[in-house]
């Protein structure tokens, strides 16, 4: 049922006519996030400019029990920002100020619409940076990062968004404003800050974020190494870890992913290798040099066929460009693809990759692999052609891969979230009781079920429905952002 005109008037009274969108031509822009197969045109889109106005909008929603969905840049890959029918979208892009950079306390205070990369840009003059670095960092917002507990290539050593957020100002679903977390790691009672992190917009809207900043490391050393098999690459990762080394990043690509990435970027990857590893170390000069020598030795021991060490910041950037382009580049070798985000215990990498290959063969589909080898977070890319009627098979294969990860002692998602995409797979990972308790916690925040309903936890309505196929994000097509 459409929202009654008087309700629209309440939003207009709050924000002004200009910042309340109801024209379908304009609201259609908000119909999906990065999971482009699912689309719902929202009834209204609200574009507040201050935290007070966000609270005001939520209070109107609470009064009339109108469902609302917070939205940052819309790069989420699990349908978290998918609008709900008869609901409103609250866009946070206009709350985009860096409120404070405090170099002595090594922290920054941000509005939610600030992009991930802007934080580091603001911190850099002080020799500081913000560690979590999702590949979408040029456009994704810190509000979205908080909601998804986003990761990045460097989270093996430095942790995820949750490890870098000190406190949050949150508008709860009843419109009240609270602070979660504090100025230090000490808190008054349970870590509600941590509960909110990764809650995918279902527990409230964050309007202010205080993050920790780290000092830029003294040195960084990056290498690109080819191996005769993915298994050999996996063994290198195991040996690095066994040597007590915690690299800043360890990324692996298989032949198909390399073919795509190299074709798109010409970054200097070998086209004839079954597997390539990118290993980066950072830290003090002393430690970094010693460990880098050890890593090179480990690579040699496992039959490394080519070892390229970045000799300059440009060469390092080049290696990363190839790695980060891999997602989008897959579009060059396949008309359509689905990106998966499962996690397995790192020691089971080789095994899971073999199983994935077998599953692909059985389904008659190719799977390219790009992954965060250090923490077992896989991004298998299921290649298919919708035109040839392969969509359903590809979706089944993709969901099967995620559930295989769970079966192997891992997780459905390492960083992209559950959203609507994987809500129906949650019973593969959690028991009925576990999910019911999560729902009770949610009810503590949102007793009226108006805050991003239908996301994260399975609902009969959602799980009866069939999501559409993956299409590249518009920003990705425009070459503005790259996948992992």
């Amino acid at each position: 049922m459409p929202l009654a005109a008087p309700i629209r008037d309440e939003f207009v009274a709050l924000l002004g006519e200009r910042d309340v969108l109801s024209d379908p031509v304009r609201t259609r822009t908000y119909e999906c996030d990065g999971l482009t197969g699912s689309r719902v045109v929202p009834e209204l889109v609200l574009l507040p400019r201050t935290a007070d106005d966000v609270a005001g909008c939520v209070r109107v929603c609470a009064r009339h029990r109108i469902p609302f969905v917070a939205r940052g840049a819309g790069t989420g890959l699990s349908g978290g920002a998918l609008p709900v029918a008869d609901g409103v979208v609250i866009g946070l892009n206009r709350l985009n100020r860096v409120l404070e950079v405090d170099p002595e306390n090594r922290r920054a205070v941000l509005e939610p619409g600030v992009t991930n990369l802007e934080i580091t840009a603001a911190a850099a003059p002080h020799g500081l940076y913000y560690a979590p670095d999702p590949s979408s960092q040029q456009v994704c917002t810190i509000g979205g990062n908080v909601a998804e507990n986003s990761g990045g290539a460097h989270c093996l050593k430095y942790g995820f968004t949750t490890n870098h957020v000190l406190s949050l100002e949150v508008v709860l679903p009843d419109g009240s404003v609270v602070t979660l977390g504090s100025d230090s790691a000490e808190q008054s009672g349970p870590d509600l800050r941590g509960v909110f992190l990764g809650s995918e917009g279902t527990l409230g809207i964050v309007t202010k974020i205080t993050v920790r900043l780290l000092r830029t490391p003294e040195v960084m050393r990056t290498l690109l190494a080819d191996f005769p098999s993915v298994a050999a690459g996996g063994q290198v990762v195991s040996d690095i870890v066994a040597a007590g080394i915690v690299p800043a990043a360890v990324e692996m690509m298989d032949a198909l992913a390399i073919e795509a990435a190299e074709g798109a970027t010409g970054a200097g990857y070998s086209l004839d290798t079954p597997a390539a590893l990118v290993v980066e170390l950072d830290g003090t000069v002393e430690e970094c040099e010693e460990q880098f020598a050890q890593v090179k030795e480990i690579c040699d021991r496992h039959g490394c066929t080519r070892l390229h060490v970045a000799g300059s910041p440009e060469e390092r950037a080049n290696i990363w460009r190839g790695r980060k382009a891999a997602f989008a580049a897959v579009g060059r070798i396949s008309p359509d693809y689905i990106v998966q985000d499962g996690v397995v215990p790192r020691t089971r990498l080789s095994e899971v990759l073999e199983r994935i290959e077998a599953m692909g063969t059985e389904a008659g589909l190719r799977v390219a692999n790009v992954f965060h080898a250090g923490d077992g977070n896989l991004h298998p890319l299921v290649l298919f052609s919708a035109a040839d009627g392969e969509t359903e098979r590809a979706e089944r294969l993709s969901a099967g891969i995620a559930e295989l990860c769970v079966e192997m002692g891992g997780s459905l998602s390492g960083e992209h979230g559950i959203g609507t995409d994987k809500a129906c797979s949650m019973p593969a990972m959690f028991g009925v009781d576990d999910l019911a308790v999560m729902d009770r916690v949610r009810a503590g925040f949102d007793p009226d079920h108006i805050c991003n309903p239908g996301k994260l936890l399975p609902t009969p309505r959602l799980c009866g429905e069939k999501p559409g196929r993956y299409r590249p994000h518009p920003l990705e097509e425009a070459g503005l952002i790259e996948r992992l």
Binding site: D102, N105, R106, G127, C155, G159, F160, T162, N163, L172, S176, V178, T179, S182, D183, S184, A185, E186, Q187, S188, G189, P190, D191, L192, G194, V195, L197, R215, A242, G244, E286, E289, E290, Q291, V344, P345, R346, T347, D375, G376, G409, G410, S411, G414, E415, I418, M426, F430, G431, D433, D434, L435, V437, M438, R440, V441, G444, P447, L456, L457
Partner: protein
């Protein structure tokens, strides 16, 4: 229902914990090794105590994945000894571990030590939990992998919960390698002087693992480094040079003083203002604020002894028991948080500082998970 004498139950399996919760009506206190019995709000009278110290031991250790799952009653010190055989550790150096504190107790009290500067606290190290709710539901969240965003992170809710949502029975932890070499550099001086040195240190690339100022005459700053056997000496030299006059390498036992100060045993250290603690009437308060606000704040507190993380903003201060309220007020005025820890058993002082803005939310979650308020009554008094 009331009982003449409270019962103590010592379950040895998660199922026995659940049975105890279901079978024993009324209000339940939860204890591990009992090392934080006098922390936070004093427990109200209960019908029974769930003593989890017999629910102990490693469940699975995956050295290659650097994860371990343990029963919640496992003493951290025992776990560390077991992990050390694999060159691994839980990167948590809360001093209380030395007194037998259990993994579950350390999570429930959100305890941490100086190395939280780099490794974070339990909220950063726990990757999965199983706990038992008041209605007997066994709830699991997280898992056995480091990277995982599926579902709400219930472990965070239990972190600092003091048992209010129910007992933890299993905890999954991410591990770190044991450092090949560790060194400690000390420099003497009062807290303000130390704070300026720490500012320079944190702007340097030296990557200290822990930075702690200990009260005394005139006080002492300790800085810990970790690294490789052959590479660490060069960094120690750089650190000594950076800290300047009087800085020198000291042995690891320099940290014993820190451990003593966290328990409110200031007899070994002269007070900040030169006053010695009157044994038996001291109270220990844990405080946190922005790191650069800490030294000035400490100067305003009537502390008899202090150990202060000048780079984390977290400090443990000892005061005469009559001053607890003053400490809460001064910390709140600095935008910080404070909670009472060890104190005389009969001390009637507020355990917590000002109530957080999220108190109604916390209460709503409590009502969802423990509607009859069975667990750990009193721990968040007077708020909840």
């Amino acid at each position: 229902m009331t009982r003449a004498a409270p019962t103590t139950l010592r379950p040895t399996t998660p199922a026995e914990v659940r049975d105890a919760v279901l079978d024993v009506p009324g209000r339940l206190a939860i204890s591990g090794a009992g090392t934080a019995r006098h922390w936070a709000g004093r427990p109200d009278a209960v019908d029974a105590t769930l003593d989890l110290s017999a629910l102990s031991g490693v469940i699975t250790h995956n050295p290659g994945d650097m994860t371990v799952s343990v029963h919640a009653g496992t003493p951290l010190a025992d776990l560390q000894a077991e992990l050390a055989g694999h060159g691994q550790r839980l990167a948590l150096d809360a001093a209380r571990a030395g007194r037998g504190a259990t993994v579950g107790g350390l999570v429930a009290t959100a305890d941490a030590g100086p190395s939280a500067l780099i490794y974070g606290g339990m909220r950063d190290l726990v990757i999965g939990t199983t706990s038992v709710l008041a209605d007997g539901t066994m709830v699991r969240s997280g898992g056995h992998v480091i990277k995982n965003v599926a579902g709400y992170d219930m472990a965070k809710l239990l972190h600092g919960s003091y048992g209010t949502f129910g007992p933890l029975v299993e905890v999954v932890l991410r591990l770190h390698p044991v450092a090949k070499a560790t060194a400690c550099v000390a420099v003497d001086g009062p807290v303000d002087d130390a704070a300026e040195r720490v500012l320079a240190l944190m702007a340097s690339p030296l990557e200290p693992i822990a930075v702690e100022w200990l009260s005394g005459d005139p006080g002492r700053l300790l800085v810990r480094l970790e690294g490789g056997t052959s590479t660490l000496p060069a960094r120690v030299r750089r650190l000594v040079e950076l800290l300047g006059d009087g800085a020198r390498e000291v042995g690891p036992d320099a940290w014993d003083e820190h451990a003593a100060l966290t328990t409110g045993e200031p007899g070994r250290a002269a007070g900040v203002g030169g006053a010695a603690g009157a044994a038996g009437r001291d109270a220990v308060v844990r405080i946190g604020c922005a790191p650069r606000s800490l030294a000035p704040l400490l100067g305003r507190l009537p502390a008899t002894a202090v150990t202060a993380g000048l780079a984390t903003g977290v400090a443990t201060v000892t005061v005469h028991d009559a001053s607890v309220t003053d400490v809460h007020d001064a910390v709140a005025a600095a935008g910080g948080t404070s909670v009472l820890r060890d104190r005389p058993a009969d001390l009637d002082a507020p355990a917590w500082g000002a109530a957080p803005s999220a108190l109604p939310l916390l209460t709503a979650i409590k009502n969802q998970l423990d509607p009859e308020a069975r667990f750990a009554p009193g721990r968040f008094a007077p708020w909840m």
